[in-house]
Symmetry: none
DNA sequence: CAGGTCTTTCACGACCTGTTCACGGCCGGG
DNA sequence: CCCGGCCGTGAACAGGTCGTGAAAGACCTG
């Protein structure tokens, strides 16, 4: 049950509670202050059931229209979201980058209990 | 609605779950971080039903085009995949080399027992 | 208008990737 | 033995992708 659980328009993931209808996000009970883009991005990610969402799809769902080559809006807002989430729920990481694929939303402890940092 | 949950695109082999559509691979529940080539190679292997895949075929399916003589890309990425799989699922070997023929994908315990006790 | 907030764009740098080399082990044939 | 083909593996390299801080626009509100 750490996976996304859709209940009408209330999404619960980890210590996050997203009320899509109200435009409200609770992190561990406290309300987050998000901008429109930040909120849209969060909802789009949270609704993807832990799968990887391609940047093109994210852009289309949140911004509408097609993602132009060179547009870095997504990166910037992913960053902003990460900062706010991290600020609210320390030692949890929600947004994971999959280079060349897109982003994945899932709660994972930020401390690597079994370090696997061997990239390459 | 979010088209994300498609069972026809999910391959399950041993403790591996490959969501070909999402570009996502779960090893024992945890998400694996693969590059595009690594993922393509894994999918190509996993879709071969445990049979041996010739290097020429692998190259054509993953890289596209013909395998040039002297090209060692496949070897390198087979290695990278092995490392990541092994790191995620110790004591299981998935990629088996058949010298002169190609590679075969199947979960086998890394410590070969000759007992009949081995189920599958 | 003036000030504040939200978005987009820019610039720089760190990290990631795919490819190619280089070296060495394994193995069967001469 | 020695050789040559085949494969494992570490490393170098060039280019691409992504993270991030800050500037430049847009927008909204009184």
């Amino acid at each position: 049950m750490d996976a996304a659980q859709r209940h009408d328009d209330v999404i619960r993931i980890g210590a996050l509670e997203i009320r899509a209808a109200d435009g409200l996000v609770l992190a561990g009970g406290r309300a987050l202050t998000l901008s429109v883009r930040e909120f849209g991005l969060l909802v789009a990610l949270a609704r993807s059931g832990g799968g990887i969402v391609r940047r093109e799809d994210l852009y289309e769902r949140v911004w509408g229209g097609e993602l132009r080559t060179g547009d870095r809006s997504i990166d910037v807002y992913i960053h902003k979201l990460r900062v706010k989430l991290e600020e609210a729920l320390t030692d949890w990481r929600f947004i994971h980058t999959h280079v060349g694929f897109g982003y994945r939303f899932a709660p994972e402890p930020s401390h690597p209990f079994h370090n696997a940092a061997t990239n390459r």
